[in-house]
Each structure stands twice: as C-alpha cells, then as structure tokens.
Symmetry: C2
C-alpha cells in the first residue's frame, strides 16, 4: 500500500504491523481506497484505525484475523461504503451568510454580493462560516481549503468542529468599499491595507500551521494578480519561499481581472504571472475561467495546480473552466465549491457531478470525464493539488483517518451492482447528493454520526446565522446607497423571487 | 385566485367559502404558490385543506380568522416553505433497478443498458419502479408521468404509495432482443408486438384513467417515430382523438432515431411527424435532443409541449437540449428525470439546477434561465405541459392538495433573506438537493412525513430490489452472449469502477 500504482486488491497483506492494537476496526464494507490507478475498490473490505491514522486496510477476513482480538471497537459496515473524506480545494466560508444573493445576473459581485457584503461584520461572517462548514461536513467534506478575510477568526470554527482545514488569508491592497467603484476603473492600492492583511496571513502561518496535531495547516493567500501592487506580489512570493508554503490564488478568474492586469502591465494575467515568477509548483491557480487553451497549458506545464469550481463559475459566469484541457496538458487539478452567494451550495457531490457533465457537453462527448475522474479530483488528486498527499485523499496505511460512511441503502445509491460491472462510483458521482453520507470521521474521530453533528449544536448555529442575516438585510434595505435597481431588485419587483 | 395572471399577494380574500370546515390548516409558512406571473410568494402564509383539495390560501392572519375555529388540525409551519409538489414529466421507473449501468460511454443503450435489460423480468422491473418512486417522493416529486412497458403492473405502485401518476404504456413494434441488432440496421417491425402493447395501453386507459379519485390518469405512449410502422402510428393518432387523450412520445431523441426515420421515409423525424399529423396540442415531445433550431421552433409553434431531460441527456449524449429555444418560440415546456441507468437519479431538484446552468453555459450568459424559470418548469408550466393545469402545479383554491414542506433550517437553505431581495427560490433551485423536503402531501394526505415514507416500508422495498438486482447481475455475468468488451467492462478491468 505504499505505491500509488498498486492495486489494493492484489495486495494480500496491506497490514505492516499486525501487533498494534487498533482503536477501531470497520468491517464488511465496500472500501473505496482511491489508491492505485483506478478507484481501488475492495468489495468485502475493512479498515483498522489507531489514534488518528489508518493502521491497516484490506479484506475483512484478513483484518479480522490480524486485529479482531485486539480492537477496542468493531463497527459492522454492511451495506455501507467507506471512502476517503472529500476535499474542498477552494471555499470562502466567510461568505456563507449571504447564500443566494448573487445569481442569475451579470456583475454578480457588483450588483449582487456587494450591496450585502458591505454590511457584514466579522462576527456575522464567522457565524456564516460555521454554517457553511456544517453544510460541507454533512455532504462529506472533511478538508476545507478556506480562503477568506478574517481567517484568524474563521480558523477557530475548524478547531471547534474538528474538521481538517488548510487556510489562507485573502491578501489584497484594495479598500473595503471597492464595490462602489465603477466597473473598468483601475483599483486603488493602499499599502497599509496590504500590509495589514499580509500580517494577518503571517500570523495565521505562525500560529496555526500544524496546529491541532497537524489538522490545521496554512498557506499564503494573494487575492489575485489584479488585487495588489507588483511590490506586494513580489514580497509574497519571497515569503512563500522563506516559509516553504503554497500560494492559494485566483488566476484569470474573470474578464475584470484580465482587464485590470492588462491596463496596468500591458499583459494578460498568465503572461504577467509567468514574468514575475509565480507559475510553479507552489501555486494553486484557482478558476482559470478566462485562460485560453495556450495559457491553460502553460500553467499546467509549470507544475502549478488548477482548482476548478464548476458550480459557481457556471452560475456567475456561464462558463465551463478549462479543467479538461489542463489535465490533458499533464496538470494536477482539484475541485472547489467556492462561495454560497452564487453557487449556491458548498457540496462536493454537486461539484463532482457538474464537472463531469459540463465537460461532456463542452466536448459533446458522453465518454469524456467519467465518474472515477471526477471522484479523484475531490479525493486523491485534490490531496496532491493542495499538498496534502501524504496525509489524506485515499485510504492508505499511515494516512489520517478521514473517512466517510455512505449509506448504500438510500434509494439514490440502490441497488448495488458488482458484476460484471460495478455501479457504486457512477452512482456516487451522478446520483448521490450528500445526504447519503451517514457519518463523517476526521483524524479518527466522528464529527458527524448518523446525520447528527457531534461537536457543535447545528440548530443553534443556524438560529444565530438567521438572526445575523436578518439584521444585515435590514441594513441593506435601509442603505441610502442601495442602487435604485439591480437585476435582483428588478426580479423582486416582478414577484419572481 | 382563479386567474393565472393574478398575484396572490394582491388578493385580500382568496377564500371563497369561509363557512367550510377544513380538515387542516397550515400556518406561519412561506407559501410559494406559483400563481401569477412570478412565483407567487406569500411570506407569512397559510393554506387550508378540505378533503383532497386546497380550500383557501392567503396570509396566516386571514386564514386563521376565517378557519381556525373550524379546522380539525392546525400545523405550525414556522421556518418551513410550503410549495406545490414537483412534477416529473418524463420518467421510466421500470428501469430503476438498473441504476448506474449505462453512463460515461457512447451507445449507452446498446453497450450499457441492453446487456442487463434483457435479464430483467416484469417483477424485477416493478420492484425497481417502487424504489424509483420512493426516491422521487423523498425529493419532492408528487406527480410522475411514467412511460414504460408493463405499465398495468407499475401503476399499482402508485396506487399503493399514494402518489399522483399520469401513465402511458411504451408502445412499439420491435422485438425484445432489439439490443442485439447492429447499430444502423433498420429495426424489424412485428405487428403482433405492436398490437399487444397497444392493447396494454388501451387497457390502462380504460381501467386506470381517472382511478383513485382522479389521482391516476393515463395517456397513450408511442415509443418514438422510429419504433413502429406508419400504420400503427396512424392508428394511435386516431385513438388519441377518439379517447381525447395526449400522446407521450420520444421525438428526435437521438441520432439513431433520425437515421431510422430518414432511411425509412426520406425525412427527418419532425418533418415526418408533421406530415402524419402528430404536431399539435396532444403531443408531449420528449427530448428533441437532435432537433435543429428550426425544427424546435416548428414543434413549439404547433402547440405541442416539450419535455426536457437535462440530467440524462447530459450524461448519455453530452448534449444540452433546445428548451430555451423552444420556450423563446412560445412553447410550453416541462422537465423530466428520465431513467436511472444513465442519469443516474430521479430527482427534480437535480433537473431544475441542471437545466438552468446548462443553458447558462450554452448561451455563455449567467442571466439566462433564472431560478424561477426552472422552478416553473417543474410546477405550474409542467402541469400545463402534461394537461394537469386544473389539478396541480400551483397552490390555488380548488386544486389538489399536493404540497411539499421544505425545511428552511437545513444548512443548504440557510439563512432565509427576504429583503431587499428574497433568496428562497434561488436557493431552492441552486442549493437544495431534495433532502430538504421534510414532508410530502398528495391529495391532502401525507405520503412522506419527517423523511419517513408513510404508505410503504422503504427498507423492505430496498432489500427486495437489491436481491433482484443481485440475481440479474449473476445472469448478466453468466450470459454467453455478453460482449467480450464494452466501455464499462473495460473500465472494470482497469479498476476504475
């Protein structure tokens, strides 16, 4: 089980250490390891867990023989699928409180998000983030690559809830009221803003990288090539080398970014980032919505990873990002759920299904982007893309015990067919919606069990978010600067909302 | 409340009969009536139900004043959305048992479905149908336009479960082993097959149309213009006039149909159907996958309805059907979930989200196909398309009490924002996945309550389907006629399933 290309079914003894006493063994399950070139399915499989790690994985018979007398607890997972927790490689949980205020329009940020966002306090944002995290966990997300302002606060939600997080502060040099600037005008840069946000990110790195027994890690988070001065971009690049960390960054995320960069530097975003030394293995290039085929291939060849957000980019831009072209050029890619104002969910089952189908219709070919490929992009490939491949993304001895228990007796996953072809992975990607996830384990501990959150009071979180959102909406409605008309105000007028 | 274009909020007294004693009033809810030009939202709304019908709808205060002393039961629906049950305008529940055997390939029918389908008995099919119906109900479908073989058997599932159904027998003249015929060869027609299936459909019409107090209705179901002789097509058309019934029919559903019709009649499907008098208000034209813009507009102008199946056609064909073009040409359209072998779910929330986003990317415009439009296509517009507009599709006095109770405290629907714009409908279409449906009422009776089926034992149904599917898969694996390779057998070999 130490070789990526090895088929777990062909390994008669994946258990390196049969004298260990595991805390828990899970038996009689379909175990989707995501190891090897395929999906690494073990049909009558078992997993042994010791502390926060996977101690062994293999056929039930063998794990029982090696461990049953020594385990503290045995879970019979008959009719369940055990699989790696899903990785959401790009999410802004700080926007969770504004679910559904920015879809079905052009200029979603200016006309949809901004009139609300200006009234959201850091406390509101933290509450909405917790709701967003619960939403993700209940749909099988165990690792959140959260990328937002105020991350030193938001990260505490992950500590409390027990999920894995790989966090970055959104660093930019633009003022909070940038939403009031007419589209097309160059953003003003304020070095004191950039410096403050950079310091927040450095604090995050120092305080939280490796915290909670490694469950929390941190990156640097430049907002985009258009969002700060060349000087700050260069400083961040040097800090990434100094701290040996990755860069979570929007790249070619919209025509507005391309326009700003071109006006400022006379180049498109990717040529500019190449010139300043950003295109390399450290970079998580998020979206690439506006990248041409050539630019996409250039990023892929550079060793940077691509994070693809099918749901949000479909809704807010009407575009299918070039992930297939990126992968074909040899790049490592992953999926993200982005933001709730215009997606409007943070559910990796949604992202897996959309990335597959949108690329089928983009290529007019139902055979492209099969289910297993979509699944890899939310598990093992995502782990590689975000730099957690030695920790999570597959069920492998020594990796963290971040596991999902999927109920295969939900109608949407029934019946299970195993011969002559298996239908579990296609149904997981094309039929499951998230509520089939019965229990979620992170670091060997259940954080959701039988659809109930273990570590937080879900109802209380929802109530607090609702109160905060109601207060925000009162402020928006009373805001004298609220535009006389936006696309959604017009729809409201027509009774369409 | 008797005029389609009336806004329910502008109607101070929607209650025609305040002296009636309702059985039930539902108060303190967000009520999404789907009446009027928009979505007809009543924010502090209530619904009164008498027998199987809606007795009154309006503000809670008013309904309480008129009815509270007389109602048998009052349900407090605080933090819930009450909306019309969803209409699945095209579903083959008889294929439910083969969920997930036919995706990610060309020739899904020949290479995916057929090797399994030939081993499915009518009893297997009926069991899978029940599972499929439960899946639909748990995701808010209350009306199923089921179109399949063996419908005199399948219809009994709807009787048992208590859902609304509008059923048609799949009439064709082709032998059961048609899947073995090489692609491109003309189908052989067998009049005795056609006659038997037509008789089944006539039996369905006579025995079931209007049964269960009108909960079950029936149509005629010609399989497609390529699937039977001209003589039988003409006979069916005459019977539709005689019985004054609609025709549920695949039209331009794939290149294979176009090829067969062209080889036989020297015309494409739609020109042929026009010539033989099929293009009119009686027709439910399903798919139009291969229809050109001109052909699509021709069908729309004829008064025929279009049924659009985004999920299945995306997966099995990699195509976005021309529903937007159809609607722009003035046509009435609706959505269907089609079939589980390659969709792989039967969930109208999935269809609403996909039709909106796929059309946004098709037009490269995020403002097209807004959430309210998608919602209408699964409610009031669907009711019009399938000929049930006087019965269901909106919450209106005198219509059937087919209602969903949506839990707005699920994370995916939270928070609720009502001013200055409302986020409920966008979140219902873009974020909800079906499990937000807490309870389902059909004909004034709960058939699902608090996520539990009321009328059938869900676990028992799933167990029986699993047993039948296991037996089928044993037969498929042992079939000497199983092709040496299919796309899924090849993926199985590679460990990708």
């Amino acid at each position: 089980m130490t070789n990526d290309n090895q088929n777990p079914n062909s390994n008669p003894n994946p258990n390196p250490n049969p004298n260990q006493n595991p805390n828990l063994i899970i038996i009689n399950a379909y175990v989707l390891t995501m190891e090897g070139k395929g999906v690494g399915m073990i049909e009558d499989g078992a997993v042994a867990i010791k502390g926060n790690k996977i101690e062994a994985v293999g056929p039930t018979k063998q794990i029982l023989a090696d461990y049953s007398s020594k385990a503290d607890e045995v879970i019979d997972a008959t009719n369940k699928l055990i699989m790696p927790g899903l990785i959401d490689s790009h999410i802004h949980t700080g926007l969770g409180i504004l679910r559904g205020v920015a879809q079905d329009m052009h200029n979603w940020m200016q006309d949809g998000l901004w009139p609300f966002m200006k009234h959201v306090t850091p406390e509101d944002s933290k509450k909405g983030s917790m709701m967003n995290i619960i939403e993700g966990i209940k749909a099988g997300t165990t690792t959140f690559c959260d990328y937002d302002s105020n991350m030193n606060q938001l990260v505490q939600n992950y500590v409390a809830v027990g999920a894995r997080a790989r966090v970055a502060e959104l660093i930019n040099e633009i003022p909070d009221d940038i939403g009031d600037l007419p589209v097309g005008e160059l953003y003003p840069f304020h070095p004191e803003i950039g410096n403050r946000k950079l310091q927040n990110n450095l604090e995050l790195l120092k305080k939280w990288n490796g915290a909670e027994n490694g469950r929390i890690t941190s990156m640097l988070g430049p907002h985009g090539p258009d969002m700060m001065s060349l000087e700050l971009l260069q400083e961040i690049k040097e800090l990434a080398t100094k701290y040996d960390t990755r860069l979570h960054m929007h790249v070619a995320q919209g025509d507005r970014e391309i326009d700003q960069v071109f006006k400022r530097y006379g180049k498109r975003s990717i040529a500019f980032l190449d010139e300043i030394g950003y295109l390399n293995e450290r970079l998580l290039a998020v979206h690439l919505t506006e990248a041409t085929k050539e630019e996409t291939e250039q990023v892929a060849r550079s060793g940077a990873a691509m994070i693809n957000c099918s749901g949000s980019i479909g809704i807010i831009d009407g575009i299918v990002p070039p992930i297939l072209e990126f992968i074909e050029a040899g790049g490592t890619a992953a999926l993200g759920s982005d933001q709730a104002p215009g997606n409007n969910c943070n559910n990796m089952f949604n992202e897996m299904k959309f990335v597959a189908i949108l690329n089928k219709v983009k290529r007019k070919d139902p055979s492209v982007f099969p289910a297993d490929q979509a699944l890899r992009l939310a598990t093992i490939d995502a782990a590689k893309a975000v730099g957690l491949e030695h920790e999570v993304g597959s069920i492998r001895v020594g990796k963290k015990a971040d596991l999902l228990f999927i109920n295969l007796e939900e109608p949407s996953m029934s019946p299970v067919i195993t011969k002559p072809v298996r239908n579990i992975v296609p149904n997981l990607v094309y039929s499951a919606r998230g509520n089939e996830v019965e229990s979620v384990m992170v670091d060997g501990k259940f954080i959701m069990k039988d659809r109930q959150m273990v570590t937080v009071d879900e109802k209380q979180v929802i109530r607090e978010v609702q109160q905060a959102a109601t207060a925000i909406s009162e402020k928006v409605a009373a805001d004298p600067k609220l535009p006389a008309s936006t696309p959604l105000l017009a729809k409201m007028e027509l009774g369409e909302l």
